[in-house]
């Protein structure tokens, strides 16, 4: 095997679609929330996307922010994003609010989707504040598929809650619950008290809400709850906490090896006589995928999706490494 360990690609295996779009409309959707409508300045069709997708706005060299698409998937000429001015903004939402006007140009990357709407006969949507944005497109999708759905939408006060007008026609399915009109916390028990196996729960909002929903969904069937965190949306450089040296236990073969800093998992296990497949040695082709039984992989490939990385149950052993002292693989 000639592949050098920890190969650094000269250029990434995949590049996401990027385009300079124009702000064709800017509307105040609620207190502190603007909705920007983006379109290609030459009228080109924009890439297709599905409910729950988001795009990056490349606001400056150092500032990239992710926003859920909140328009209609049927509109291939325009994208819409809703942006809340965060008083603690580190620059992103502040810059959007202050500088992106009608006619402004903004560089956009994507779309991609880490929060896809899976098919289900029934949905319970739960939104907190600006977390309504991805759920709006899901509602359109659920409605079109003829699914039974309900939305519980919490916020500070009505004036701060975007898109109430769009939700008006679904008044039987939507519960709007501003904090200043209720006693105590959002009424999660009213919609989550009884676990149902015909329902998927989709939630987007601030951390406190997500934690409470996760807690309330504990008795629900596995995989019933799908959430998107705001915090994950800030692009931070990944922590450099991959270990220099770690152990790999090959459970099926009953062999444990140590992977040093200058060699790949693939090289070390192959040398130990383990039967593994490998091909590109750059993390692009997916041939060397192994199931992870224990441990915390440090993914360096360009095959796995964000959701798969987060799940951590598979690894491309030609380039990826480990964050835990020990990695147990099903090989």
């Amino acid at each position: 095997m000639t592949g050098a360990p920890n190969t650094t690609l000269e250029r990434p295996a995949y590049r996401e679609l990027e385009a300079d779009l124009e702000v064709v409309r800017r509307e105040q959707a609620a207190d502190g929330v603007v909705v920007l409508t983006l379109a290609d300045p030459h009228g080109a069709e924009l890439p297709e996307w599905t409910p729950g997708a988001h795009i990056d706005l490349l606001l400056s060299d150092a500032l990239t922010r992710q926003y859920s698409l909140c328009g209609s998937t049927s509109d291939r000429s325009e994208w819409q994003v809703g942006v809340l001015l965060d008083p603690d903004s580190r620059g992103g939402s502040k810059l959007v609010h202050e500088q992106l006007r009608e006619g402004s140009s903004v560089r956009v990357r994507g779309p991609r989707n880490h929060f896809p709407l899976a098919g289900s006969p029934r949905y319970q949507f739960i939104a907190g504040g600006i977390g309504i944005t991805p759920l709006l497109t899901m509602i359109e999708g659920a409605e079109a598929r003829g699914a039974d759905w309900h939305l519980l939408y919490g916020g500070r006060e009505r004036g701060s809650m975007a898109f109430l007008d769009k939700l008006e026609r679904f008044s039987e399915r939507v519960t709007v619950s501003p904090r200043d009109e209720r006693q105590g916390r959002l009424e999660l028990e009213s919609v989550l008290a009884e676990p149902r196996d015909d329902t998927l729960v989709y939630c987007c909002g601030p951390e406190g809400l997500l934690g409470a929903v996760e807690e309330a969904c504990r008795p629900w069937p596995t995989d019933s709850l799908r959430i998107e965190r705001f915090s994950a949306k800030d692009l931070e450089p990944p922590p450099a906490d991959a270990l220099q040296t770690f152990e790999v236990e090959c459970q099926r073969s009953g062999v444990t090896v140590t992977v040093p800093a200058d060699r790949s998992i693939y090289e070390v296990v192959e040398e130990a006589g383990i039967d593994v497949l490998g091909s590109c040695m750059e993390g692009v082709c997916g041939t060397c995928e192994c199931d992870v039984l224990e441990g915390d992989p440090e993914h360096r490939d360009s095959v796995l999706s964000e959701a798969e990385r987060t799940r951590g149950d598979m690894i491309m052993i030609c380039v990826s490494r480990s964050r835990s002292e020990r990695l147990v693989l099903d090989i």
């Binding site: 297709e48 098919g119 091909s279 590109c280 997916g286 041939t287």
Partner: protein
């Protein structure tokens, strides 16, 4: 093999010239469909099955815009409603066959076979080369006994041309340069590569009329637009900002998990009024497609043989194909209602749309009221 294709996607059902006032029967995503053109010019797509005894409606005949079953003479309107039963006065209440949304943008008739309401949330991909006077096109329709993803993967990795179509490669090029870039979005994958200057292959010289003594650079660009459509452009740079461009547009529509309809069109931006060029290109691409089909059908037969399931070995040149497979898998998984997981195989269980479609087929209207009543119990 169970379906590995999404139902919630626009597929090409036929080319515009295939659909007229005669009944066209075609199996699409496993569903028998009958297509015809109304006197208004609009195309109709119905499930090809009479509500009475499951006889194919395509075996019947048209009376104006109405379709008459060739078994007991049940009469249907273009919206699927049964309006006449010859042997009795009244029509069974609410009897109707399933209809499918259709969108025609010549030369393609697109069809939506998934969740009926979701059709409005998607648009068939645009194919701007057709109907534009700067372009002319030719092509044909093929039936391939192979899974549709084998076709996508084949055309997303053209490194096979040296082995399969050496005569089509410009002389002096012995290996395709690596892909410059694989560009992805949520639903699409595209790649591009530049070829170093080389003299013309025979087919290029004959089609373009350019000098055989001159070296030309070429640019290749391919896109997995959706599970239903592959578009590839091949442009010969003639200098001065002028290029001789060919766009191979292929609609891949699964007939079943092991068979695919291929709607092949070759568009060109030169010699648009010269039928001899059209004939030459059609012949050349048809011959290439025929050889491709032979290989893919052989692969499909080998895949169908009994034995341990095994993993594919991929190579770097597959990276666009690997990505495209994942897009399709994610769409299938989302329809099924499970979180997308990168599968080791292409196999997935029937989608909810497929199950719904079966359940809905012939009695859709009859059960509508009952379904509405029992909505809460429906799973």
């Amino acid at each position: 093999m169970t379906p590995n294709y999404p139902f919630n996607c626009w597929y090409v059902a036929a080319t515009s010239d295939e659909v007229g006032q005669a009944l066209l029967a075609r199996r699409l995503l496993g569903i028998p469909v009958v297509l015809y053109r109304q006197s208004s010019g609009d195309v109709v797509a119905l499930e090809d099955r009479c509500v009475h005894r499951a006889y194919p409606l395509s075996e019947g005949r048209l009376d104006g815009d109405r379709l008459i079953c060739g078994y007991h003479g049940f009469v249907y309107e273009a919206d699927g409603r049964c309006v006449e039963v010859p042997s009795q006065e009244n029509v069974p209440h609410g009897a109707c066959v399933r209809t499918f949304s259709v969108h025609e943008e010549a030369p393609f008739v697109w069809i939506w076979l998934g969740d009926p309401g979701a059709a409005a949330l998607r648009r068939p991909p645009r194919t701007p080369w057709f109907g534009d006077p700067r372009w002319a096109s030719t092509g044909d329709t093929l039936s391939v006994q192979a899974n549709y993803m084998l076709l996508h993967e084949h055309y997303l990795d053209l490194t096979n041309v040296f082995v399969m179509h050496p005569e089509a490669v410009p002389p002096g090029i012995d290996v395709l340069p690596a892909l410059d870039e694989v560009e992805v979005s949520e639903m699409s994958v595209s790649y591009s590569r530049a070829l170093p200057p080389a003299r013309l292959a025979d087919w290029e010289a004959e089609a373009t009329g350019l000098s055989r003594e001159t070296e030309f650079a070429r640019r290749e660009h391919g896109t997995f637009v959706s599970p239903a459509l592959h578009v590839q452009s091949y442009a010969i740079d003639a200098g001065g900002g002028h290029s001789y461009e060919h766009v191979r547009v292929q609609g891949f529509t699964p007939e079943s998990p092991t068979a695919t309809h291929v709607f092949l069109r070759i568009a060109r931006n030169y010699a648009t009024d010269r039928s001899v060029v059209a004939d030459h290109l059609r012949g050349m691409f048809h011959a290439m497609a025929t050889r491709d089909v032979e290989v893919l059908e052989t692969v499909q037969r080998r895949l169908a043989e009994a034995g341990e399931p095994r993993r594919d070995i991929n190579v770097k040149a597959d990276r666009a194909a690997v990505r495209a497979r994942r897009v399709a898998e994610a769409m299938v998984a989302e329809e099924k209602g499970s979180a997308a997981r990168h599968g080791r195989t292409l196999i997935a269980s029937p989608s909810r749309a497929a199950r719904t479609a079966n359940a809905q087929s012939q009695l859709e209207c009859v059960v509508r009221r009952a379904a509405r009543r029992g909505r809460g119990n429906r799973r």
